[in-house]
Every structure is written in structure tokens, then in C-alpha cells.
């Protein structure tokens, strides 16, 4: 069984293998397919219409499946690789080891937010941004510019304490665990991390920054932690809800998996703690 680890505990070899697998997917064009898919859902998921990937109950199972698909692609390059997670409650500065030149590279430079260190720097020639919303071809980051602080563990715990998974109207205005984790309401966890990163991470084409996968891996882990803390709570809504993916409905774009299929992550992988 594959084990997903905290990125802070990866060995130098594990970091290198993960980065090399990313670069290989990028070179083959398969990486950009994931960026394109994500943005298509970002642009089409609406509060009052069909919504699958975002601002809806299936935010968590959709991204779980999206990450599994991506992890499988990484493993076609290197079978030893699993997605690491970034615990941004612990590694919360611009000088944390995650931003080292041996891993994800550092913050953007002040002049144009361009990332100039690490494997994804434009000058290295291996990470051109091709699926984009503007004319810039380089990876950008502006850590801490859009919002000063990453969420704290206390804020995470306050959201994990919410016993109800989701509530009508099942969108960005809902009360409950899912929407507070996604961040449209309350202390704002997931959305705030996208904004803190800046650059492509704060846009619809956020998977252009490899940190997208480590961020969402931690969101996925928080869902598993919530399930453990609330064993009698389950995914909602159960059935018959317009525009929204019910427990047994299939999710686009795969059309062969349901939220019910995704509830037990240990069918696919485990977390290191």
C-alpha cells in the first residue's frame, strides 16, 4: 500500500524522484492535461448551476480522485513515488525547506513574481507555462502578498470540529465542514493557501504550480482526519439534489466514480500519520 508522507520528512532521494517524475510528465504533455481539466471545472462550477469540482459537496471526493489520477501518472514514471503533503500550519514561512532549490524552488522575485530558483524556474527550460490565462510563460509566486498568514492549527481544528459535512444550498454560501474547509466561509483554509501563494496558484490554472498537489494532498488528509473524528457523520447530500453530486451520483469528467467510492482513502493509499 502506497504511503503518502509529510514533505518535510522526505529524504533527498525521495524529493529528487518526485521532482523528476513531475518534470517527465511535463515533458510528455500529460501534466498540462491536468491543468486544463482543473481550469475547465473552475470556470464551469457555479453556485446556481451544475457544480462538481468546487463550491459544492463533491469538492473533496472530486479532488481525491483528481489526485489519485495524477499520482498514477507519476507512478508510470517512477513506481516508488507518492504524493507528499504540505502541512502549511507547520511549514509556514518563505524560507521553509519545501521552497529549497532541491525541491519546489523559492518565492517569485519582486520585479515580476517570477520563480528563479529550483527545478521549475523558467530559466531551467523544463517548466514553461503553456495552459495559462495570460501571456506570461513563467511560473509566478508572491507568497504572503495576497494574505499575510497561512492558516494555523487552531483554525484547522475549529473546522475539523464541525460535525455536519455540508448543508443546503450546497454551494459557496453553505454552512458546515466542507465549505469552511474549502474556505468560502469562516476562517478560510483551502482558498487562503491559494491566495497566500499568489501567482498561478491564485488563479484557475493553479495546478501549474506543483505545490498545488502538496496543498491538496493536505486538504485530502484533513478530510480523512475529519472522518476519524466524526465516525457517525457522512457525505451529504444523500440523494435527489439538483445541480449537485449526491452520494451515489457519478462525477464528471470520469463518469464512473461516485463520492461513495471515494470515502475510504485506505482503498488507495494511507497517510504516514
Amino acid at each position: 500500500m502506497a504511503v503518502r508522507k509529510n514533505q518535510a520528512n522526505l529524504t533527498a532521494t525521495e524529493k529528487r524522484n518526485f521532482v523528476n517524475a513531475l518534470l517527465e510528465l511535463k515533458k510528455s504533455g500529460r501534466y498540462d492535461g491536468f491543468v486544463r481539466t482543473h481550469n475547465q471545472f473552475i470556470m464551469s462550477d457555479t453556485d446556481n448551476g451544475d457544480r462538481v469540482g468546487h463550491r459544492s459537496p463533491s469538492f473533496l471526493p472530486w479532488h481525491r480522485q483528481f489526485l489519485i489520477q495524477f499520482e498514477k501518472e507519476l507512478q508510470t514514471v517512477d513506481a516508488s513515488v507518492t504524493l507528499p503533503y504540505w502541512d502549511w500550519t507547520a511549514d509556514r514561512t518563505t524560507t521553509a525547506s519545501i521552497w529549497g532549490a532541491d525541491f519546489l524552488g523559492g518565492n517569485g522575485r519582486p520585479r515580476d513574481a517570477q520563480v528563479t530558483t529550483g527545478p521549475f524556474a523558467y530559466s531551467g527550460g523544463k517548466w514553461p507555462i503553456t495552459v495559462n490565462v495570460d501571456s506570461r510563460q513563467y511560473l509566478q509566486r508572491e507568497m504572503g502578498a495576497g494574505v499575510a498568514q497561512l492558516p494555523t492549527r487552531a483554525e484547522v481544528d475549529s473546522v475539523l470540529a464541525m460535525a455536519t459535512y455540508d448543508m443546503a444550498p450546497w454551494n459557496s454560501s453553505s454552512n458546515g465542514f466542507r465549505n469552511h474547509l474549502e474556505g468560502w466561509r469562516g476562517v478560510n483554509l483551502h482558498n487562503r493557501v491559494h491566495v497566500w501563494m499568489g501567482g498561478q496558484m491564485s488563479s484557475g490554472v493553479s495546478p501549474n504550480d506543483p505545490v498545488f498537489w502538496l496543498h491538496h494532498c493536505f486538504i485530502d488528509k484533513l478530510w480523512a482526519e475529519w472522518q476519524r473524528a466524526h465516525p457517525t457523520s457522512t457525505y451529504l447530500p444523500a440523494a435527489g439534489t439538483a445541480n449537485v453530486v449526491d452520494l451515489g451520483d457519478t462525477m464528471r469528467p470520469w463518469n464512473n466514480v461516485t463520492p461513495a467510492d471515494m470515502l475510504d482513502h485506505t482503498r488507495f493509499y494511507t497517510y504516514d500519520r
Binding site: 475547465q40 446556481n48 514561512t93 495552459v131 504572503g144 459557496s172 454560501s173 484557475g204
Partner: protein, 138 residues
């Protein structure tokens, strides 16, 4: 160690602030706002709710040297996603979406909400730093 880290953070923050100020000075023509001011701009119609009373006030202005236009959508994509409103920067469409609470986001600033389409457009200009919007490859 920790004081060293703190000092580097402070220096980095200063550099960003200086760069932001340098950008703001020559670019401003009609626009007046920093990002913070733009984000707090309120809907002049006095209504924050979704598509109420004819929706947001149209605008056509220069902000940081970029022409930003917001007007009622003439059908198509913005007509349903943007709450009946469409925004462009230098003639290129900025994909806009209205949230259930009446706030707005765009494809450039997708994970934070703004009071009205003008604030979204100004925030996008700030993020673009002179770059051109391109149609999303789908």
C-alpha cells in the same frame, strides 16, 4: 538563526512594497486605487445581492494604464456565470463569476472574493503586471 530568518523576511517584504509603489506611480491615469482600496470599492447602486435591480453599475475607465470595461453581458458565457455582467481588460474578456452572496471572482483571482466587477477587474490588472489576457485553452 531565527533573527536571521526574520531579517530576510523583512527585507523581502520591503522589496515587494517598493516594487509595488514603483508600478503604481507611472501607471495611474484615471484609476486611483491600491488593491486594498479596489477591494473595498462598493457597488454604487447600493445593492450587494445577486443580480438585484439591474445588477452592478457599468464602468469604462483607465486603471494602471489598462482600459477596464464592465457592462451588461450580451449573451454567451458571462450572461449566466457573471450574473449578467461582462468585464474586459484592453478588450480581452476577463472570465467573471458571481458568488451566491453577491460577491465576484475572476479566473485571475479565483480564490478570493470582491465586492463588485470593478474591484475584480482592478485586482486582475494588479496581478497581470502588464501581461495580456489570453483565451483559455480548452
Amino acid at each position: 538563526m531565527s533573527s536571521n530568518v526574520n531579517r530576510r523576511l523583512v527585507l523581502r517584504g520591503t522589496a515587494v512594497a517598493v516594487a509595488g509603489a514603483a508600478l503604481a506611480v507611472p501607471g495611474v491615469l484615471a484609476g486611483t486605487g491600491t488593491l486594498a482600496q479596489a477591494a473595498s470599492t462598493t457597488d454604487h447602486s447600493g445593492h450587494g445581492g445577486p443580480a438585484t435591480h439591474g445588477g452592478p453599475v457599468p464602468f469604462d475607465e483607465l486603471y494602471q494604464g489598462r482600459r477596464i470595461v464592465g457592462k451588461a453581458a450580451e449573451g454567451g458565457h458571462g450572461a449566466h456565470h457573471g450574473g449578467g455582467f461582462a468585464v474586459s481588460i484592453d478588450g480581452k474578456e476577463l472570465h467573471l463569476m458571481q458568488n451566491a452572496d453577491g460577491t465576484y471572482i475572476s479566473v485571475i483571482n479565483h480564490y478570493e472574493t470582491y465586492a463588485d466587477p470593478r474591484a475584480v477587474a482592478r485586482a486582475a490588472v494588479d496581478k497581470l503586471r502588464g501581461a495580456t489576457l489570453v483565451p483559455i485553452a480548452t
